[in-house]
Symmetry: C2
Subunit: 138 residues, 2 copies
DNA sequence: GGTTGACTGATAGTTACTCTCAAGATTAAT
DNA sequence: ATTAATCTTGAGAGTAACTATCAGTCAACC
């Protein structure tokens, strides 16, 4: 059993956020000890993990809550839960594509600056005026 | 030359966000026409692109502004700009790793639900109690 | 027995949008 | 020529999701 602090360290999520999530109803299953302290079981960590997963892909908190609530209801909600997972996965794949593109732009920029520094070249940018994307583009 | 609406469509960013970015000083170079309407040149789009890139990786607005300002100053700021790009790239790579992991979890979940639906299996989850991660884990 | 440290809930503050709206200009239709 | 529809603008309010601050509780150690 883990305290909120331990969970925060293990899952790399701030205590604040975990409490915020708890207050948002994301962990209705986490028990408290005799001092009203939240004690997370190993199994609870799996729930934290899925919440983190959904959130990290940008699923809004309202939908995360919906998913949790559906799990509690039971079998009859499997189709809706499946749909949520599918939608989330599609979104994640979209993000992957976007991220790949942005990475290649960053890579280009990195090399551009490396060249500029290595060769002690001029930064061919005339403020507000005739900057050329292929020369500098920022 | 493009209006803010056209830029919004081309770059897949809302007009609202573009105005917000403009107000934040991200586009100090964009000219206005005689009616005070912003007119983006093709070159300006390159700037929008790099702002979008930085933001999509989670670079905070303050740093984006810093980067833009450095570009305006000129050559002497190349090392700091290079550093910003490097840091951003490293962050993007980190995100890529994270996203890959989350995708594999989502993939697992997807298959899990597919099985559940295909075989009309029971959802072996006893609310608040003995849920097993490997059986359901949400 | 007093201080330390972890926990609690309540509440205020922050970031980055996101939306609403009134005012001014342009085009299209009456 | 006037009206209506459409677009743009800035100002400002609203929202989501944290993030930080604070006062208060409680067990544990010196």
């Amino acid at each position: 059993m883990y305290t909120i602090k331990e969970v925060a360290q293990m899952m790399d999520i701030s205590e604040h956020t975990l409490r915020f999530w708890a207050k948002s109803g994301f962990f209705p299953f986490v028990k408290r000890n005799e001092n009203n302290i939240r004690m997370f079981s190993d199994n609870d960590l799996e729930w934290v993990k899925i919440v983190k997963c959904l959130r990290s892909v940008g699923t809004e908190n309202k939908l995360v809550k919906r998913y949790i609530d559906l799990c509690i209801v039971g079998d009859s909600t499997i189709p809706e839960r499946y749909e949520i997972i599918q939608t989330t996965k599609a979104k994640a794949q979209e993000q992957m594509k976007e991220l790949t593109q942005q990475l290649s732009l960053l890579d280009y920029k990195e090399k551009f600056y490396q060249n500029l520094i290595k060769n002690n070249l001029e930064d061919s940018w005339n403020p507000m005026n005739k900057m050329q994307p292929e020369d500098e583009a920022v």
